[in-house]
Point group: C2
Chain length 573, copies 2
């Protein structure tokens, strides 16, 4: 029974950086060779980064991607890696148009190519807009083993190339992925890969991207399952990883006559070098699943860190109000970038309480970030006096002076501004546009307020367990939330209790449940009407909001594009 | 030979306003009946407005749309309009999913439905994301005449339902559209409709939406062409219009045996009331085409006016710098809303020149808008002194104090803030985020600077021709452009000549031409490199920009979604 040593390279490319990504591919092929692997898989679009969005439609970019791919086989051979069978995702373009493609490379040549069949166009995906679908079904015989290739969505749809391959019969399915993180998606993904392996009657090697790219974050979670759906190896989430294991595969099957309708079957045989003597692979990694809080925290840290680094920033700046949101964002930034790259500014107004100032000081001390205090009293007074502002206009001017001060310091010193708004307040429009919404990245824009508290408690507990100072002031966690834009103001003056609010938002926003359905679920119609009205009116503000890391089905961003003018409102039926 | 009197209702619905749009449909059916029409056509998605975007995916909305449609036949019959054959676009949803649909209504019942076949998913369109495609081919025999129905994109693709209908044979094709305006699109559209009529061997009645909806504007341009492609009637652009004409049609054809593959042919016969004696229709309208400047100006006025009205605002506020951009935006606002709904604010800093202040005063006097002067000296000083700002940070703080002042007045008095940036400066990032980019609507975000000047001259000439005061100060048109954020600053310090810049932008942005291609076209490589670098770096700012009216292929908005982090740059090859 032939044995293959597989290496799954769970890597973090950067969209558009073709030369950097080419170096990354070579480096991880080198690592795979060092581990004596026969085959190395790299994820979907590893050479271009994912998602390339409109770059797919620029001919000069698809040409550059194709050139970078064409240069790989020679570079691999020159580096003494020609014997390795390399499967890597890239952007191709033929006479039909752009293609989400995989190349199979061996001994200095591209042996075959595969074009993704199923182009997802829901949620965060827009692939139908950018790519044309393929219909080919390559079968690569390598050392007597029949390999098939599919890309990501191809295994999420019934009746696609997996079904077709199962008619033909394969020894091993290689699946390249750019599968973005969502909360608890690893469970769904594991079950799906197992089910497809059973359908195909063959093991599946599933390799995924890792790292943040704009508002998406990829969690890795690469794995190999056997033909019965049992997990043989699984990489840890949110870190670069080379997952290596030995697979004994049937091989030498007699070619099937099956010709699945609508598919272009293509068989290629590659002469591999004879198998060499090598020590057996160390027991393959099967990473323990993370807790819900740990998973979300790592997703946010990864998304924030990569956004800053991939955009060429070295430091971030944010306002510290003493409240829970800014404390959590500051801690995420310190975890992602180190305290020395994080600048916090306390910007008290005449309505800021003594305890808020103290909580901001306390946070700075606990985390060790750079800290300064810049009262906004004079700036606010200049606007209020000249324009005779009061009420809401005066409240907003305070938030806006803070936003302007942060942008000024960003312009002066080169930091990226972080916005600290959470998903609950964004959903109901409880924020000031050009005020607290100012920033180039909003790390917790997809985190509901109740989860912000939960994460804060979890992060402090982790620190305590490790004998470190808990970074978040307990007072910031325990005190009732307030925007402090007028005397004695509390969030609860304007909003329902956050537990209730988050419950309704989860149903109304994430699950698209209608008014009648929410009433049937037992919510008070008056409460729902109030929340639904706020959400429907907050659409415009959301459009202006900078991206953050997506951790759930629906962040308020690209995948929720309600029209700005929208006279239809959810009403009691 | 049977004669039908057609009425094409070129109407302006509002997205989401199901009850308002239902009233609109009834009102225009009444007008069609008053004109003794037999058949009235309303545009694509007239009942829901277009584009509904994510509302299509809300089950409560598609149910509400379906209910509104179900109520129409009864309401029409109750209003004595049951004999009219009504064809109207709406959002349907069946077990497969949401549908972009048309209903054929007669005598109190929905006689048949059509689901759009081709779902565009390029440029401003995202229909593949929202709808499922139909495959039915209804043929309605009404007074002996065979009618077919198609929707918009169905006629833009070869080999679709038009080809299928041509196999079957029709007397008249009814085409419902939500076809957004682009510069000179009327020429393309006219040729397309003529070509499809010749292909179908039948006249086409083409009805389109009119009015602004978020960043889209619909120009109407409804028309009827005969089977040879000759235009028989054509509605004026940018206005509500009922286009009525009499058509003599062959009729009484023997049903064809053709069964085009992949289509579901369905034949329905409707008993119409016997033809009544009526005076012949007045000579049908064939609107004169507008000049390029007039067409763009009307598109911008329509887009701005409808954005303000459909969002429930009654007035707008903007900063008047004395420059050409704010002068043109102010004039557009006055044309759209009347001078009494427009509030201009001059906000001089210590760098503002005397002539700029004078030009702002002059504009206010010429247009009659509400005008005030609010120097920003004290506000700027508060920031500059406390945060020790200089250079770019000091320049930006001026623009931001102006933005904040406008937002404060908006909060205080309820006006919508207009941003005055043009497409050229947006493309190269020559604007201040949270500064001059502040606003809920950016009327000229899709107008290149050279076109801004051309429009200004044209508008003044039109005024002079009509014996009115030209609204735009000649000095604002003639003087060299400057941001006046430091002493003696001119746009030409930072940017190439605008004629050259707009030429390159047109090639690089609108036509997606690459670096090598631009060099071959004769541009100086150094100039291109500079412009391309600025454009590629300006992506992030564009994401933050509010929508404006789309007048060309690519506004910087939804249909240009370059990733924010994008290490790939156009370089000299």
């Amino acid at each position: 029974m032939p044995q293959l040593r597989l290496a799954l390279a769970q890597v973090n490319p950067c969209v558009g950086d073709l030369s950097g990504n080419s170096r990354l591919v070579l480096e991880w092929c080198r690592r795979a060779a060092d581990a004596n692997a026969d085959v190395v898989l790299l994820p979907e679009m590893a050479l271009t980064g994912y998602p390339v969005e409109d770059l797919a439609l620029r001919e000069s970019f698809s040409t550059a991607s194709r050139r970078a791919l064409d240069a790989l086989p020679g570079a691999l051979a020159d580096a003494g890696l020609g014997e390795l069978l390399v499967v890597v995702g890239y952007l191709d373009a033929d006479e039909v148009g752009p293609r989400n493609a995989a190349a199979i490379i061996h001994r200095g040549a591209v042996v075959d190519r595969y074009y993704k069949h199923h182009l997802p166009n829901y949620g965060v995906f827009d692939e139908f807009r950018y790519f044309h679908a393929g219909d080919d079904l390559p079968v690569i015989r390598y050392r007597g083993v029949d390999l098939g290739v599919v890309i990501c969505e191809d295994i999420w749809q019934d009746g696609g190339p997996v079904a077709a391959y199962s008619e033909i019969g394969l020894d091993l399915m290689l699946c390249l992925n750019g599968s973005p993180y969502e909360r608890a998606k690893d469970d769904v993904r594991g079950e799906l890969v197992a089910a497809r392996a059973r359908e195909a009657g063959a093991p599946i090697a599933y390799v995924n991207l890792v790292g943040g790219q704009d508002e998406l974050v990829f969690d890795g979670d690469s794995m190999v399952v056997d033909a019965a759906g049992v997990v043989l190896a699984r990489a840890p989430q949110f870190v670069d990883h080379l997952l290596v294991l030995d697979l004994d595969l049937p091989g030498d099957r007699s070619p099937s006559d099956a010709r699945p309708a609508g598919f272009e079957v293509r068989r290629t045989t590659i002469e591999g070098a004879p198998a060499v003597e090598r020590a057996p692979c160390a027991g393959p990694c099967i990473a323990e699943p993370l807790s819900d809080e740990a998973e979300v925290w790592q997703a946010l840290v990864t998304g924030l860190g990569d956004y800053v680094r991939k955009n060429g920033f070295r430091s971030v700046i944010l306002g510290l109000s003493g409240g829970i949101d800014s404390a959590v964002v500051a801690t995420l930034a310190v975890d992602a970038l180190g305290a020395d790259a994080v600048y916090g500014v306390s910007m008290p107004s005449k309505y800021s309480s003594e305890h808020s100032r103290h909580d901001a000081d306390d946070l700075a001390e606990r985390t060790g970030l750079h800290y300064r205090v810049e009262p906004i009293t004079d700036m606010v007074a200049a606007f209020v006096e000249q324009l005779q502002l009061s009420g809401l206009a005066e409240e907003n001017v305070q938030a806006r002076c803070r936003g302007m001060a942060l942008m000024s310091l960003s312009n002066r010193d080169g930091h990226l501004v972080l916005a600290t708004g959470n998903k609950s307040e964004l959903a109901v429009g409880y924020s000031t546009i050009y005020g607290d919404a100012v920033g180039g990245f909003a790390p917790i824009k997809d985190v509901p307020k109740t989860l912000v508290w939960r994460l804060a408690r979890w992060r402090n507990e982790q620190a305590a367990k490790n004998g470190e100072t808990p970074p978040i002031p307990p007072s910031s966690i325990e005190k009732p939330p307030s925007a402090e834009l007028r005397p004695g103001q509390l969030d609860s003056d304007s909003l329902p209790d956050y537990t209730l609010l988050d419950d309704v938002l989860d149903d109304y926003v994430e699950s698209d449940r209608g008014f009648a359905d929410l009433v049937r679920a037992g919510f008070d119609p008056v409460v729902i009407e109030n929340i639904v009205r706020m959400v429907d009116r907050a659409e415009y503000k959301r459009r202006q909001y900078p991206p953050g890391t997506k951790i759930s089905l629906k962040a308020f961003g690209r995948d929720r594009r309600l029209p700005i003018t929208n006279s239809w409102r959810e009403r009691r039926p």
